[in-house]
């Protein structure tokens, strides 16, 4: 199987518009193919109307497109029911909804939630806030020396019988892939509900939600070629039924009066307000478009790029690698010995290599590994071999300038 990276890149106007840049900040956001931009543009130009109002045909058309997008996501990710796909503004909103919705119902005072040291702040802070309000206890799985989830400790903490286990598929800092299929089964056996933060994982591997067997899965559109401001919260139907809505208002009600208000059924009960209609349509277009490509070939391409990168970085004694070389989805965190990541990133920026530096919304991870931050390179399917060559040369230049 071969992957034609040039043909893939040709779908992205960004590379024609910004030909001098090497974009290695894909974990922050990804570029959008023509199929996504045209789907959104077409909606605004041709079909723009609010959804679910139903009074005129234009609105009905818009609603049909919007609900078709939901069906597409449900089909592509193999959810059992379309009502299990809840639109939201992204993984952060979805995780806030879960923390708010489970606390005080499923989670009572004294109950436990299990997180990991690798989590992004979006999968830490909402739990902290709601847990504190309700007397729920948070446990955290530590890391091994190789900065991987300590599975032995995971099992030990499961013996404390947490009600909820929430973990990321792929670390947004290190790129390390967690064995979520096994971890989900272990958590289920211990009686816990499972939440998978798929923000970085979804572009690595599209989940088969029923096969994965998790209770909840969240992801953001803009990290899988889709628009910003839209994402999905997936949940098993009976669990979503019991989730307290985080947002109240229009759309999520059936009847409102000052004496009594009745909430709507799923999925709308968890979708207050006018949704990001164009965003949802764009996200569905992204996934449909992506499915046309040979996804295993893309994975292989990314692994080859990684090998190229490891080889080059190994020639530079000034580099301290934080990411491991195996089980990596395409994200490399590193530092230049003795130098602040922001200085390195600035020197790469001067050479038109776009990277990110800092704690990457994962301060507990950096506290655990004893570093104040790192430079992060995040690859994508549209990254080409010459990008890696340029990046390695630019890092060498940065090392030389910092001497």
């Amino acid at each position: 199987m071969t992957f034609d990276v040039s043909a893939f890149r040709a779908e992205f106007a960004f590379f024609q518009q910004q030909p001098d840049w090497v974009y290695l900040d894909n974990a922050a956001t990804m570029h959008k193919p023509a199929a996504v931009i045209s789907a959104e543009t077409e909606f605004y130009q041709k079909f723009n109307s609010n959804v679910h109002r139903g009074a005129h045909q234009l609105s009905q058309q818009a609603t049909a497109l919007f609900e078709q997008a939901r069906d597409d996501i449900a089909r592509i990710l193999n959810a059992a029911h379309r009502e299990e796909i809840i639109w939201c503004s992204g993984a952060t909103a979805a995780l806030n909804q879960l923390a708010a919705g489970l606390t005080g119902t499923v989670l009572q005072a004294g109950d436990r939630v299990l997180l990991t040291t690798l989590e992004h702040h979006a999968n830490i802070v909402p739990w902290q806030f709601y847990a504190q309000q309700h007397g729920v206890i948070l446990d955290v799985v530590p890391l091994t020396a190789a900065h991987r989830l300590d599975v032995v400790e995971f099992q030990r903490l499961l013996s404390l019988k947490p009600k909820v286990v929430s973990l990321s598929h792929v670390s947004n800092v290190l790129g390390h892939i967690q064995p979520i299929a096994e971890l989900i089964q272990l958590a289920k056996a211990a009686g816990a509900l499972t939440v998978i933060d798929g923000a970085q994982g979804i572009v690595h591997q599209l989940p088969d939600l029923q096969q994965l067997d998790c209770d909840f899965y969240v992801f953001s559109g803009h990290k899988i070629y889709g628009p910003t401001g839209v994402g999905v919260l997936y949940g098993r139907k009976h669990l979503l039924e019991q989730l307290k809505p985080l947002l109240y208002g229009g759309e999520m009600i059936r009847h409102v009066s000052f004496s009594e208000t009745k909430l709507n059924h799923l999925p709308y009960r968890l979708e207050a307000g006018t949704p990001n209609i164009a965003g949802a349509i764009g996200l569905a277009a992204a996934l449909r478009w992506l499915k046309q490509w040979d996804l295993p070939a893309i994975q292989q391409h990314k692994q080859q790029l990684l090998q190229h990168l490891w080889h080059g970085l190994a020639q530079m004694p000034a580099i301290e690698l934080l990411s491991g070389k195996t089980g990596n989805a395409g994200i490399v965190a590193f530092n230049i010995h003795g130098e602040h990541p922001s200085d390195v990133a600035a020197l790469l920026d001067q050479q038109q290599i776009a990277v990110r530096a800092g704690t990457h919304c994962a301060m507990p991870l950096f506290q655990a590994i004893g570093r104040s931050g790192a430079v992060r390179l995040s690859l994508a399917a549209y990254t080409q071999a010459s990008d890696i060559d340029r990046t390695l040369a630019a890092i060498e230049q940065a090392v030389a300038l910092l001497e």
Binding site: E339, H340, S342, D343, A346, Q350, A357, S372, L401
Partner: protein, 157 residues
Amino acid sequence: MSEINHQISDFFYQTAQALSLIEQQQLPLLLQPTDWQTRYRSLMQLGKTLPAFSALQQVEQNLIAGCDSQAWLLHQQESSSGRHFWAFDSEARLIKGTVTVLLCQINGKTSAELSALPLRQLLTIPGLQQNLSPSRQNGLLAVLHKVALLADIDLIT
């Protein structure tokens, strides 16, 4: 107590000497147009001659909030003359260099003299300004605000 004061004064005196040398020797070169490699290397080397901060000085009360990296600003006013003396350290070389550019132009000035200076412009290095990331700009702004606060002057927006 007087021994500690003497130490701090020594530190500010040495810093002032170093800043003066930087202003005379390195600053003119830095402000000349050149390729980005030379400019960045010069900027990142700029703070090297400054006396190092001790752990006593790298404390929370001296921290500048709103910085990507940890940065500390120290200040002492000479009671006889009212002149303000400064010292700055940062984990990030570019921040340290950029603020050093500012400090060597404002060190040892009175509040009245500082009020007359275009402080924001003193942070400007040709070819650098447009490449400052928003977070780095915020950090530098935070330094300016702290300078204004400590010198009791208004920062003209």
